[in-house]
Symmetry: C5
Subunit: 267 residues, 5 copies
């Protein structure tokens, strides 16, 4: 289900193209080079001016990320952390030292490392919070060009259409050419409104949502790490972290027992 | 009075259809397949791209929820909690252990269970707050497709209309066909603006309000559970919780006495 | 000066009607039944769907409240509370017990009663804050239909106008009827934009302002009650509460002396 | 530089009038009585309905304030407060008692008076904060009619234009009159959009900015008064308050020495 | 990559001009003096009225700043601060006294000076926070004219276009002149929408982003200064500050070692 963005854009384009074709319009008219130049290059320039060049170099990576988001396995992470909590309770915090190097996720690794180093709990929370806040800002900057493009594209469409109409008005002496000229003028609005609503705005919203999911994931992890450091009972750690999981995704009690057993064995 | 959403949509459609018919328009013209394809399929695709597929699979359930919202009996819940508070004061917190299993509402049950287990009060508040915060996020994600559709539908309507007008402009040599073609182009705007304002936006607002009511309900419950744990006088618990009830729905003193007597008997 | 809302709506309607008449338009054309059906019934349905039926049953009461708002006498309330503060300082908190029953305002009464009962100060603040927060939410829910109608009415006007234009386009073969048909189509926009800007939005804003005034009034009262409980010097209580009163409405020193004397006598 | 608002409005009107004249339009056409009645009287009524009559009686004073704002001399105030701080450190807080009566600014006077009276520091901060919060609310209420008018005027312009177009459509049988009638209809939009953007919105923004400047000025004063009460070193007080002054307006070290010497002499 | 704003504006203008030329429009038509007067002078007047004259005198400097933003070398600053932290740990806080005079950045200098002077840590944080908050406000005021112009320019464009259309309607008796007149009227909208979207809004957004980057830079510096004062281990200071640096810009461990060695030598 993770290819939602690509599927959605395809559905949207399909619906619009299908409807337009049934109305009798040749959909290929949108491949109007002047209109595309005005709207898309105009919008690109405005977003570069608004957000700077570096933010645009990362765009292809962000398109890929929105289309194929990474998996965030909340329940797996809960089990992983409960496993560390059990190990720490059984063998002491220092016992986690060797486990640290095998942790895949850099955020979890950094957190457990700080705990093993005996860093002050407030400082652990401060350092990890700073990481999260910095990630939140980075994500916001990353999706800014999409947000801005969603606002600029329709107005660039208007600029294109008005330019076209100015041209029309200066050619009123040639009535037979008016229809196609006005049609071409309208295409700029079509491209501006269409690209904003089919691509830029859904993309910006999707990236925002993915960012929130990742933050949620990390906040849960942070809560777990602080619980491990405080020496909380693994059952309590599990209870607290499960609140971050949607009820429908929470494992049944039997599943949870099995997972704990597996984690205990693995730890 | 709980079927407000369905009633409202029916009233709105009725008013619009009635007015249009009196004006002499045949309302059936809105069943224009190309316009519907462009606007509704285009909007669906954009919301899928913006919010992901899983959020759309839950939509039918959310439509049902908005149309037939669950009953939230604030006064009943207050009496239930005051009953537990009295039992706890009379027989000690542990006496609630057997009552826990019979509690219908999972949130209340989890809370009372934590209290009976002797969990630290700050931890009880933290776990239940996390549950509420998670529910709030889940609800916000659930209604996001309606919010987004309320924004996308009118602009998809514009896309459809501009496509139609482009078609019109390329057929200016056939004047007799112009009227119906322009009319058909306008239908996309009509469907886009209409569906957003009669269905998507009211739906999104309704779901937001229901979410706030449920949160309010749970905050009251949480306050009551913390009061029970703190060993507050049941009269004080009742006083505090009644502040959550609208004055017009608060029971008179006589009713309250009767309810307390009944609760005491039941407990 | 309290009938501002009614006066404002009358002035606004008068200005518009006068201007339109001078332009040569017959103002009675706005009584166009199809347009009214589409816009006002369509809007009513949408707000019912968005806010639920119960919120609409209270609307007539809210119209009356906006048109004839209750008087909130800040200086009178300050003097009343300073009177209680003096009585409490002179004769002890319990001396307020008999005064409680004669307090008109239920909020003040509840607060002083809690103080007389020896409730913990934090609990007094918590209970009264909860009352205020609940009132704020109730008011926000109450004015929601006006806010929503202010947004829905203009778009329902567009729906009506587009429906009318669709009708026009399908009747292009009868040129002599076009003028009146287009005029009728425009009326829906006129009614939608007009009703939103002359009635719904001003009403919503007015109710919001009245709600803020009442909250301000109650916050001042709460501050005073907490001051009485803390045994503050009545002069200090007066100083603190006067900060809530606009400088231009604050009594001169002479007036204040007289008021204090009167309050002392009355208490 | 303080007459910015008046200068700005004159520049804006000049630019528009000049441009329109060069285009060949007679600018005097905007003095269209019906359009002015609909837009300006309609807007006035709507703002009265939205904000109440009393807020409108203060409008002329607010227009004057926006056009000729009071001078706020940050550096002068810093020096004044540092002077009090030095006096207090040298001769004790009570030595300020005689200086209090000569303070021009009521806010500073009230603050120093509270300090001299030996009021608890938390209470001094609470009373002065309440004054500031009340001023902020008062200012927000004061500029509300401008904000609202900025929103209502363009829509009243649309109402006027649609009314005009309805009139046009009912007079299609008289083609020679159509041009001037349509022109007159457009004037309402022109007046609505123009008045909102040249007068109401800039005015509202200007008043908001002046309010923020005054609040900034008072927050600095409050910080200084609390410093005096805490017995802070005058150098530290000066350091803290200078952070409120824009670097480009901060006095050079030599100027500061001179100012301190003068203040010390004056105190 | 720092010339993003200039590059973006050039790209945007190029795209629009190219597209319009391909459509057959002579791009030079936008140099329409009446339209430029109405839109740009009208907008300038409105922003002066809204934001005051002083804010406009700083505009050329802000244009330059947006086009050539200063370099903010996060990693360099981290190494600088870690260097001070090491010096302070080795030789005591007073050893920083001579280093203070050589610090380029006034903010860092002020902070270290306060630390060397033995100021209370809370006061150090308060003074530097006040500096940052003041800078944030100053930046917000500085970019306000761009934000406002982004809102005013399109509406001034509408004012210009409506004025032009009024002129057109009063000249219906001269059909051959209509086309160019309507075209000229449209130019005002073109200039208004174009200048807002190609210049004012991207500029405002860019300045906002630069302000946030500078604040981020200073917050990191403040955190480091407080760490030095608290006598934190330089390794911990480095760990905390690196959280402010984007992972992709963080030096590898080898680079970090080298930097530390260099800093230690330099200190």
């Amino acid at each position: 289900m993770k290819f939602g963005t690509a599927i959605g854009i395809v559905i949207s384009c399909f619906g619009i193209a299908m409807g337009a074709t049934m109305e009798g319009t040749n959909v290929a008219v949108v491949m109007n080079v002047p209109a595309i130049l005005i709207v898309l290059v105009g919008t690109l320039g405005a977003t570069i001016a608004a957000c700077g060049l570096p933010a645009h170099i990362k765009l292809p990576k962000l398109y890929m990320k929105a289309i194929m988001p990474p998996d965030l396995d909340l329940v797996g992470r809960v089990n992983e952390i409960v496993g560390y909590a059990e190990k720490a309770r059984r063998d002491g915090l220092l016992a986690l030292d060797e486990a640290v190097k095998e942790i895949d996720d850099p955020f979890t690794q950094k957190g457990i490392q700080l705990v093993v180093d005996g860093t002050d709990p407030d400082l652990v929370a401060a350092v990890l919070d700073a990481e999260n806040e910095a990630m939140r800002k980075r994500h916001a900057q990353g999706r800014a060009p999409f947000m801005q493009a969603g606002g600029f594209a329709p107005t660039m469409g208007i600029v294109g259409t008005v330019f076209g109409l100015v041209n029309v008005m200066n050619n009123l002496n040639n009535p037979s050419a008016l229809g196609p000229l006005i049609a071409a003028a309208f295409l700029a609005t079509l491209i501006g409104v269409g690209s904003a609503n089919v691509i830029f705005l859904p993309m910006a919203n999707r990236l925002k949502e993915l960012s929130e999911q990742e933050l949620h994931f990390r906040e849960m992890t942070l809560e777990g790490i602080l619980g491990i450091q405080a020496g909380d009972n693994p059952r309590v750690v599990s209870e607290k972290l499960m609140a971050y999981v949607s009820p429908s995704e929470r494992p049944t009690e039997a599943e949870q027992e099995a997972a704990k057993a597996a984690a205990a064995k693995a730890a």
